[in-house]
Structures are given as C-alpha cells and as structure tokens.
Amino acid sequence: MGKEMEVGCARPTGGPVGEKVEPEPAQQTLIPKEVSQMIRVGKKAPDFAAPAYHKGKFVSVKLSEYLGKWVLLCFYPGDFTFV
C-alpha cells in the first residue's frame, strides 16, 4: 500500500529510488563550465515557444509573436494548487 502523501503547493514528484549512484568523477579540464543564462533587467528576454491552452483550444505560443505588446509572463508551481 502506498503511503498517503502530504500535498503542499508544489506538485508531488517521484524520482529514482534505491542505492545512490555516485556520478563519475568529472575529468579535469580547463574549459570553464558553461555559465547558465541569467535574466537581466534592461536586456532582451530569451525567446521561446510553448504549447498552451487558450479559450478552448490547444495552441502554440511564441514570445516573439508578442513584440509590440506588453507581456506579463508568470510561472507557478502547478495546476490545482492554492494561492
């Protein structure tokens, strides 16, 4: 029997179980690690395309299609959560 989970604001997720697999030691290298792209105010937002549900239809939305308009882009932890 599965144990009942306490559901908070984030969607419950699974993951690998059992013995922890140690990652292989990284090879010594002089190449600097790729720095992940940071969002900066005053700089362009990275463009993206994503599937979306909009007024009864499944559509594809691309950020650059909204050039000329103001965009409020909101991320949230999951559907059916509170707040």
Binding site: A10, S36, V41, A45, P46, K69, F75, P77, G78, T81
Partner: protein, 132 residues
C-alpha cells in the same frame, strides 16, 4: 506557465478556474514540460521538479523591465504587478523624461530627472508618499 501539460491546464480551467472567473482564463496557459523554459528564466526548481513563482514584465521591444521570484507558499500581489506595468508604460511614453518615485500610483506626481532635480527631491517628494 507551469510544467503541467495542456490537458491538465484544460481540466483546471474548465473544472475550477472557470468557476472563479467568468468565461475562464482569458490568457494562454502555457505548458513547459521538463521546465526547459523555466531553466532559462532561472525559475525551475531542480529538486522539486516544478517552477517557482516567477513573474516577468517584458516590454514591446522584448526587453525585460522587471521580475520577481517567490518560493511556492507565498502568493503574488497582482495589483503591484499592474502598478509596475503602468509605471513602465508611463516612463516609456515619456521617453525616459519622467520617472516614477517610490509609492507612485497612476495619477500621482512623477519626477523629471535632470540637473535641476539634484538635491531637490526632498522639496517635491515626501517620505509619506512611499506609504500611501
């Protein structure tokens, strides 16, 4: 945008959100499987596998003017987001000639930055204006 599929978005909108908002959600509900977009925007929580409460204001040129990121348990202030958009719109319309000081709301006074204003802000802007 969340990591949920568009099918889950549809169920949430049709079965719950449409009961809170007449006609349902008026804007697109975006799906970001694997948090690929969230990672680029710095809001994907690798440990939980979900996206945090990130909110980005992007102007008509595609430039990020402001953002805010909260951990999941605390909700956003929607009116504050609107206020910020209105402030950025005013600044853009004035081509940078006007600025909105702390506590600004639509209709309240703006500042005209320039040599004449240096050292004189205290004459036109009072601290209680930040709190009303």
């Amino acid at each position: 945008m969340s990591i949920d599929s568009v099918f889950v978005h549809k169920m949430w909108n049709d079965n719950e959100l449409s009961k809170m908002v007449k006609g349902g959600v008026p804007f697109p509900m975006l799906s970001d499987a694997g948090g690929r977009v969230g990672k680029v925007f710095g809001v994907y929580d690798e440990d939980a596998g979900v996206e945090t409460r990130g909110r980005f204001i992007i102007d008509p040129d595609g430039v990020v003017q402001g953002y805010e990121v909260l951990t999941p348990p605390v909700g956003r202030n929607v009116m504050e987001s609107f206020r910020q958009v209105q402030a950025f719109q005013l600044v853009r319309k004035s081509k940078g000639k006007e600025a909105t000081p702390s506590g600004w709301r639509p209709g309240k006074m703006t500042l005209k930055p320039g040599p004449d204003l240096v050292g004189k802000v205290w004459e036109v802007w009072k601290t209680d204006m930040a709190f009303d």
